[in-house]
Structure formats: structure tokens, C-alpha cells
């Protein structure tokens, strides 16, 4: 099992018979999967196979050609909504930020996480400001909170994006290749932070990466996607041989 007693937990993200094409290329073919609350899931997708597109479909940014995505989180107001926005904290790739040179401070970037829930024309409330401070401290960014985002290292920028995603108090944290371009030490710190957040906030973590080996070291459940689901199960039952077999199968298309 992915985690002990995971199947007893309610499903918080369900994909049913999802298919998605982009520019004539079939990206997803009839995918069905359930992500349960508090699972620590890694989705492995080969380079060039549309990792970001996969995650965007799963978090509701792109509408699938067929099938449906549904979310069911703890909160009553989320029931039945697709996408259930307050439930998801989205962490895009650092390069996805449209303007790396945008002159915003770390605190302003983290504050973005409150904008969706505070509504139009409303300044941040005291509760929002307190949540921003808490998340900045939790991510170990208090010292640099007034620095420009663009002046930070890759590892620090990744922490800022996680803090921003968590300010809205989501139930699912969805991360798109979070360890791309950061050094080994920062990777270790990143996974330690992710593990801490998973256990203390009972977060469901959904992480997309091309590196199956890295995922097998850090995640509890692995889903290997190559147009279809090639593997979906606990990491420990995969093994080195299983990893190799998956890579070969994916290579054959």
C-alpha cells in the first residue's frame, strides 16, 4: 500500500477516463486514478512527454478532451466543484514565472497565495498577513522576506513558491518538477521541508518529475505515466529491476 491505511482514507482527487491531446499529439490516453488524502505521490513522466501538461490537467488548468477530474476535500464548500480551487496549492516550475526580473519581494510573492480567497478589491486581512508571516517562517525565509525574489538562489525560490502555495491552506500540494536546476544539498533540504509539511499539516502531496530514481527514493507511491499508466503502486515493491523494466517499456512507447 502507498501508505499504511491509505485505502481507508477518502479520495481527494479522482481522474476518470481522462484523455488529452495537444497539437495533434496524444498526451494522455484514457487515464483513471485516485489520489487519497494525505498520500505522498510521485508521478514520473519522461522528458518531452508533457510533464507540465499532465499536472495542468490534473489541477484543472487544462480541460481534458474526454473524462473528468473531480476534487473532494475536507471542506464543505469544495464538494463537487471542479476544480476545487481552495483545495489545491500549485507550485509551477521556477521558469514558468513569467517575469523572473519582476521587482517583487519574497513577501509579495507569498502574499499572492491569499489573493484568490480574499476576493477582488479587498486588501489582505490581518488573518491573511499572519498566514503570510507563518508560511514565510515555516519555509525558513524570514531573513530574506524583504529581498527581491529574483535575487534568491534556485533552492530559496523554490521554498518561496511552496510558501505561496501553502498560504491558502490547501489540502493538495501539486508540484511541477520542483528540484530542477537546484544542487544536491538544496534538494535534500527541499525533501526534508516537504516531508515536514506532509506530516505536520496532513497534506496530500502530488509531485511530477522525470527522474524515476529520485522519486523512488523520496515518495511513498509512484505512478509512472507514458500516455497510459505503466505502474501505479508503492515504491518499495518496485525495486531496481522494476525501475529498469519501466524505463524499457516507456522507451518502446
Amino acid at each position: 500500500m502507498p501508505v499504511t491505511g491509505a485505502h481507508a482514507r477518502p479520495v481527494c482527487l479522482r481522474a476518470e477516463n481522462i484523455s488529452f491531446s495537444y497539437g495533434g499529439d496524444r498526451i494522455l490516453e484514457n487515464i483513471s486514478l485516485d489520489i487519497r488524502q494525505e498520500e505522498f505521490v510521485g508521478i514520473a513522466i519522461l522528458n518531452g512527454a508533457g510533464k507540465t501538461t499532465h499536472l495542468k490537467v490534473l489541477v484543472g488548468l487544462l480541460r481534458p478532451d474526454t473524462g473528468a477530474i473531480s476534487f473532494s476535500c475536507h471542506r464543505g464548500e469544495c464538494e463537487g466543484k471542479t476544480p476545487c480551487r481552495p483545495c489545491i496549492g500549485y507550485v509551477p516550475q521556477q521558469a514558468a514565472l513569467r517575469q523572473q526580473q519582476f521587482p517583487v519581494t519574497v513577501r509579495e510573492v507569498v502574499a499572492m497565495g491569499t489573493y484568490g480567497q480574499s476576493g477582488l478589491f479587498s486588501p489582505p486581512t490581518k488573518r491573511d498577513l499572519a498566514a503570510i508571516d507563518t508560511r514565510i517562517a515555516e519555509a525558513g525565509l524570514s531573513r530574506v522576506s524583504r529581498e527581491l525574489f529574483s535575487d534568491l538562489s534556485g533552492g530559496q525560490q523554490q521554498r518561496v513558491l511552496i510558501a505561496r502555495a501553502l498560504v491558502g491552506n490547501p489540502h493538495i500540494l501539486a508540484l511541477d518538477e520542483p528540484t530542477n536546476g537546484i544542487d544536491a544539498k538544496s534538494k535534500e533540504e527541499f525533501y526534508a521541508l516537504l516531508s515536514h509539511l506532509h506530516s505536520t499539516h496532513r497534506l496530500t502531496v502530488l509531485l511530477i518529475l522525470h527522474d524515476l530514481t529520485e522519486l523512488s527514493r523520496t515518495m511513498e507511491r509512484i505512478i509512472f505515466l507514458h500516455h497510459r499508466i505503466l505502474y501505479d503502486g508503492p515504491t518499495e515493491s518496485l525495486g531496481a529491476r522494476g525501475l529498469w523494466d519501466l524505463m524499457v517499456r516507456a522507451g518502446r512507447g
Binding site: 484543472g60 488548468l61 513569467r98 521587482p103 519581494t105 499572492m112 497565495g113 489573493y115 484568490g116 524583504r146
Partner: protein, 237 residues
């Protein structure tokens, strides 16, 4: 004296009109440049030309029809985007369509309007009271919307995907932004001109971005405005 022009009514009108254009274009220009939409003002300028031609053809006040046409053009650009047409291609399509419609309608008008050239190439000293009032009303609307939705503009400029997942109405905000650009085009079109207001919108923001020049010792951020405390000293680059 440099300020002697203020002794004349046309000078005062030109000064007020130019001031409105400068403030409105500079405020919106920051977001236009950061969102990499530098050509959108030019595209909507040509759409406004179609609207002005419609005004001449139907006998209505040209700037009113220009407002209607830029709003329609803004919606058209977003409609094409929904059909997966790239944003630069969508702008180019509206650009060509606006110009073509304008040329046809001007040809259909009984006689060539005398002040058409003033719309195309600008006569800031020739603007009348109506032009100033319309520019003032539209300028106040544009600046008020920019100020009231400040955090939303930062959100959709910095990371529209995150903003969408976080629950912000990104598509509606993007349409509103394009309409604001269109209204700024109309504000500028008689005071300056249709074809040169685009650079007016982007020049200040682009120069600031490229040179990284700040007029103050301390960088003033949106956060500072909220807390009322000065920002951290600018780092050496």
C-alpha cells in the same frame, strides 16, 4: 517664459490632455511591458481607427465609436485566444481588420473628414473641451481600476497559472486589462495620435526595466505602501 503657453486656452487644454495621457500610459505601460504585450496598444490603435472611421461614416462623435470599437477589438483578441490563436497573431489579425475596416468606411463617407489627419497623426494643440472631458473621464476610470485591482494585476502578470489555480478570475481580468489598454488608446488618440501612443505606453516602463534605474534610494514596493514602512535598500547589482 516656458509657461507662457498657459496664457492661452488651447495651451491649457493641451497641457491637461498631455498630462492625462502621460499618467495613464505610464501606469498601464508597466504591466503591458511585463506581460510582454508591447504590440497590443498598436493593434488596438488600428482598431480605434476603424471606430473613428465608423463615427465619421455614421455622423457620430468619433471618440465614442472608437471606445465601442476598442472594447469589441479587446473581446475579439480574447475570442481568438480561446481558439488557440497565439496572442501576437490575434493582435495582428485585429490590427489588419481595424485598418481595413477604417479605410473602407472612410471611403464610404460622403467627403473626406477634415480632422481625420489630426486623429491619425495627432494635434495636441487642436483638442477641444469635449476631447479633454472624455480623456479625463476615461483616464480616471483607467487609473481607478488599476489602483483598485492592484494585487490582481500583480497576480496575473507574475504568474497567471498560479493565479487561476488560486481562484482568481484570470480570464475576466485579462479581458478587463485589454479593455483598459483600449480605453487608454482612445484617451491618447486625439491628444497624441493613434500611431505613436503605443511607444508612449511602453517607453517609460521599458527604459526603467532595462536600465534598472530607481529615482529613490530605497525601492518602494506594494508591501511598503501597505505597511507604511520604507523598503530595504537597493542591492548593488
Amino acid at each position: 517664459m516656458v509657461l507662457e503657453f498657459l496664457l492661452f486656452k488651447f495651451g491649457i487644454r493641451a497641457f491637461i490632455g498631455g498630462l492625462i495621457v502621460a499618467v495613464t500610459c505610464a501606469s498601464l505601460g508597466v504591466f503591458i511591458v511585463l506581460r510582454r504585450l508591447s504590440l497590443i496598444a498598436d493593434g488596438l490603435g488600428h482598431v480605434a481607427f476603424g471606430g473613428i472611421a465608423l463615427g465619421f461614416w455614421t455622423g457620430r462623435y468619433p471618440l465614442y465609436t472608437a471606445v465601442a470599437s476598442v472594447i469589441a477589438g479587446s473581446l475579439g483578441i480574447h475570442g481568438l485566444g480561446k481558439l488557440r490563436v497565439a496572442s501576437d497573431a490575434a493582435i495582428a489579425i485585429m490590427f489588419s481588420a481595424g485598418l481595413a475596416i477604417g479605410v473602407v468606411l472612410i471611403s464610404l463617407a460622403q467627403s473626406a473628414p477634415a480632422d481625420l489627419l489630426s486623429y491619425l497623426f495627432g494635434t495636441i494643440l487642436g483638442i477641444n473641451d469635449n476631447d479633454v472631458y472624455l480623456a479625463a473621464v476615461l483616464g480616471v476610470i483607467v487609473l481607478a481600476v488599476i489602483a483598485l485591482l492592484w494585487k490582481e494585476w500583480i497576480g496575473i502578470t507574475l504568474d497567471p497559472d498560479f493565479a487561476r489555480v488560486a481562484g482568481m478570475p484570470v480570464t475576466r481580468l485579462e479581458i478587463l486589462f485589454t479593455i483598459l489598454v483600449g480605453l487608454t488608446v482612445v484617451v491618447a488618440c486625439h491628444n497624441r495620435d493613434l500611431y505613436y501612443h503605443g511607444p508612449h505606453c511602453q517607453a517609460l516602463a521599458a527604459v526603467k526595466r532595462e536600465l534598472q534605474v530607481e529615482p529613490w534610494e530605497h525601492r518602494c514596493t506594494a508591501d511598503d505602501l501597505q505597511t507604511g514602512k520604507p523598503g530595504s535598500p537597493e542591492k548593488d547589482r
